[in-house]
């Protein structure tokens, strides 16, 4: 592997006294798609929110050779990281185009010229957004909203895009459409950290996968190998860790 684009070591997040994530280590090569999968409540969203600086965290986070320790969320955005939050968090009363332009707000402040190139690129990726550019975000369908949320994040020219369950609440066909676009970002130099509950679809797309369970990474490996590991289904279906380890050992 080349010098990693993104690396976290010994990463942890606590809510008060309750630890939601501990000892997480993760590495991403430039231009790769890495997925973190796990059952509900495993700590996936917590991981992303911690990495974005939205939650206080412990441990080391290195992006492009630079430590993110002590950086606020805005600085992390400036460094080239964007998050698409689980709930999309669009501005429902604003048209699509204004939602997109807000994504480039920080760069705009730096007197960079009006981001038409960036906007054209996002419209290329999601032609549907161009069709609806003057429509209010609140009137979009579920799939279009997710496209808008991803498009808005891409307006910030990220090198690392973090997605929190983009498949949530979407019909399977739209999920596939969405994931195809995300996979295509590789060629544009955007690396993706994809958090998903939909393990099979995420692993089919990703280069490398991590499995999170009860706030710990319990399994990792190349996505193709991981997809065939029965331990994942057991983890999702609540078979106890010891049972699952025994079962996984038996199959390997």
């Amino acid at each position: 592997m080349n010098a990693p684009l993104f690396q976290i070591k010994n990463f942890g997040v606590c809510y008060g006294q309750v630890s939601a994530l501990q000892d997480a280590d993760l590495v991403m090569a430039p231009g790769s798609v890495v997925t973190v999968i796990g059952p509900n409540g495993a700590g996936k969203s917590t991981l992303l929110n911690g990495l974005m600086g939205l939650l206080p965290s412990t441990g080391e986070v290195i992006f492009d050779g630079q430590s993110l320790a002590g950086m606020g969320t805005e600085e992390r955005v400036m460094a080239g990281i964007s998050l698409v939050p689980e709930r999309r968090e669009l501005f429902a009363d604003m048209p699509v185009i204004d939602n997109l332009l807000l994504g480039s707000f920080r760069r705009h402040r730096l007197r960079e010229k009006t981001p038409t190139d960036q906007l054209d690129w996002v419209y290329d990726l999601f032609p549907r957004l161009k069709e609806r550019s003057s429509q209010l975000a609140g009137t979009l369908s579920g799939g279009e909203r997710q496209m808008l949320a991803v498009g808005r994040a891409l307006m910030g020219k990220p090198r690392l895009l973090m997605l929190d369950e983009p498949s949530l609440g979407l019909a399977p066909r739209i999920v596939q459409e969405m994931l195809d676009v995300i996979g295509g970002l590789r060629v544009h130099g955007v690396s993706t950290l994809l958090v998903e509950q939909n393990a099979r679809a995420a692993l089919a797309l990703a280069d490398h996968g991590y499995v999170l369970e009860n706030g710990r990474i319990v399994l990792q490996g190349p996505a193709g190998e991981l997809a065939n590991n029965p331990r994942i289904a057991q983890s999702y279906m609540g078979m106890t860790t010891s049972d699952a380890v025994a079962a996984a050992d038996a199959t390997n």
Partner: protein
């Protein structure tokens, strides 16, 4: 005068913490001192000031209940003072009635108008009440000022003094006794009310309406009741004011006066009965001093004190949002609710034989605009059975839960609890039929003790009205409710924390308090919304043991839960939802290997 401010906060009826005897004695001495004040050779001016403080304190006490505790804002209290004052002025002068009769005329007029305003505005959400009270305040001010019979802006004068058993209470020292007796009795009544069944429900109104409804409280009606109580206290203050001044005119009942009451409330301490007296004392004294001092400083006449009041308010809200009361209150005995062990137990529901179907959900549907969030779900829960409702995020589990508990009305299908249709009924009605619930986001009253929080669960198992509570005629049934709450806390293993404020507990403990509160409803069916979320491993273990015990005693339990390990080990039967539909049901073993369930969770097989 500041000494006197502690008197109404003396611990009434609640047994003090051991070792607080000397503080209790000191508080009692202060009350005596305050009572003896008019007999002492203090200047008349001093007594006059004290009288006004008492009048303001009555109004602010109403605001403590209404705004500080129930969370409803009123900018129209001075208008209710005006009704009390004008009612007695008009009736004594025109008909020659005794002030003791016109007191009740004023109370009646105030009560009716407050009830009307309350009934119209409380059912609306948002800022309708504060706006309506402002409009009311302004309208009444101009009404007082333009009606011929009320003397227009000159008002009415030459009112008679109040007489009692042949004594004339015309002097300011005699009025002192009457005013402060009123303040003392009102504060005593307010403290009694807060420590009672309706009081706990009032304390839940501020941010806990959904929870209170689930415990069987008619919150809309209760809000109107609190609004009326606050108005009645203002009316009493108006009656006293009219006979102290022997004259009324519209000025003291305008919007500015209402705002001053709100400032006194914030200064004293929003949610403290003692804060009402403290706030009115300090602000009255401050106003007096400033009116003398500031014109000298600025070298010209003017109402400069208004500027200082504004500053004080901003500084208080920024640095001491609890007002000044906490600084005084810590010198007073700590109130602690006593549980009487020999209290008579509350009546229990006749137990349902194990295996009988408690909950029957048939083809229930919920449509939000074009989205069918729940699409024809069927499920049953029997007595003595734990059923799990699971599914990926956004599957419609919480919506289904809300349809069963009456938070939302279903768009189609039906729900039966023990053979009775409950779909479309209000949450409080469903709760009375034997369904108790907990909440995904814990809903406890943070500054109320754990014991009282749990006792709220027994709300619909007793009948205690506001009047009985104020007069303390509820002690026997109150003891039974508290004892029931204590028993429920024993059940979940938190009895030793019962006097702590609920907000000081860890999340896992708070979830157990919610279960204790639900048990206090004496339910046949328990609905738990993500009971294991945020719990540590050993806490989950303890919770599982408790729920299994309850099942063995014949309770039916339905839980929504994401922790699969917890669900698989605990439940007897599982229902799986995806995109609003039921895709599978069966035993945990069946569900764990069910292909459709695996596909729902992991995605389609490649």
């Amino acid at each position: 005068m500041t000494q006197k401010s502690v008197s109404p906060a003396a611990p009434v009826g609640a047994s003090p913490v051991p070792g607080a005897g000397s503080r209790r004695l000191a508080a009692g001495a202060l009350v005596l001192l305050a009572a003896a004040l008019p007999l002492a050779p203090v200047p008349d001016l001093f007594i006059t000031q004290a009288n006004y403080v008492g009048l303001y304190a009555l109004v602010v006490l109403g605001l403590v209940l209404l705004t500080g505790i129930a969370g409803l804002t009123s900018f129209g209290q001075a208008a209710f003072v005006g009704i009390g004052a004008y009612a007695t002025a008009y009736c004594t002068l025109t008909f020659g009635w005794s002030p003791w009769i016109t007191l009740f005329v004023g109370l009646g007029a105030t009560g009716v108008s407050a009830w009307l305003i309350g009934t119209i505005t409380m059912r609306m959400s948002g800022h309708y009440l504060p706006l309506a009270t402002i409009a009311w305040s302004i309208a009444l001010y101009y009404l007082f000022g333009s009606v011929e019979a009320l003397g227009k802006y000159d008002g009415l004068s030459d009112l008679p003094s109040i007489g009692l058993l042949g004594w004339d209470l015309g002097g300011s020292r005699a009025m002192y006794a009457l005013i402060w007796l009123s303040v003392g009795l009102s504060a005593w009544g307010a403290l009694n009310l807060l420590d009672s069944r309706p009081g706990r429900a009032i304390r839940a109104l501020h941010g806990g309406v959904q929870m209170a409804e689930a415990m069987g409280v008619d919150t809309a009606r209760l809000k109107v009741t609190v609004f009326v109580i606050a108005a009645l206290l203002a009316s009493v203050s108006g009656w006293l004011f009219a006979h102290l001044q022997r004259a009324v005119n519209p000025t003291p009942f305008g919007l500015e006066a209402s705002l001053k009451y709100v400032i006194m409330l914030v200064a004293g301490g929003m949610s403290q009965v003692g804060g009402a007296v403290l706030g009115s004392s300090v602000m009255t004294l401050l106003q007096d001093q400033l009116q003398v001092l500031l014109p000298r400083v600025f070298g010209s006449a003017g109402n400069f004190e208004v500027i200082v009041f504004g500053l004080v308010l901003v500084l208080l809200l920024r640095f001491a949002p609890g007002g000044m009361w906490p600084a005084v209150g810590r010198w007073l005995p700590t109130r602690r609710i006593a549980v009487v062990p020999e209290a008579k137990a509350l009546a229990r529901r006749t137990p349902v034989p194990a295996g009988e179907v408690l909950l029957q959900v048939r083809g229930v549907q919920k449509r939000f605009g074009g989205l069918l969030a729940v699409d024809g779900v069927d499920l049953n829960v029997k007595a003595g059975e734990i059923v799990g409702l699971i599914g990926p995020n956004g599957a419609g589990k919480s919506t289904t839960f809300n349809l069963i508990t009456g938070v939302l009305p279903p768009s189609g299908g039906e729900v039966q609890l023990r053979g009775q249709r409950i779909d479309g009924q209000a949450a409080r009605a469903i709760s009375r039929l034997g369904l108790a619930r907990t909440f995904q986001h814990v809903k406890l009253i943070a500054d109320m003790s754990v014991l009282e929080n749990v006792a709220l669960g027994a709300y619909q198992r007793a009948r205690v009205g506001v009047v009985a509570a104020v007069l303390r005629r509820d002690r026997r049934i109150e003891a039974s409710m508290l004892q029931e709450a204590q028993r429920a806390l024993h059940r979940v293993g938190l009895a030793e924390l019962m006097h702590r404020p609920a907000g000081s507990l860890a999340l896992g403990q708070q979830r157990l308090v919610e279960i204790a509160r639900a048990l206090c409803c004496d339910p046949a069916l328990l609905l738990l919304d993500e009971p294991a979320a945020g719990l540590r491993a050993f806490e989950k273990q303890a919770l599982a043991v408790l729920l299994s015990e309850l099942r063995d005693e014949g309770m039916g339990i339905l839980l929504v839960e994401h922790d699969m390990e917890f669900v698989m080990k605990l439940t007897d039967h599982i229902v799986v939802m995806v995109f609003g539909r039921k895709i599978a049901e069966g035993s945990p073993q069946v569900i764990q290997t069910h292909p459709a369930v695996l596909e729902a969770y992991l995605g389609a097989a490649p």
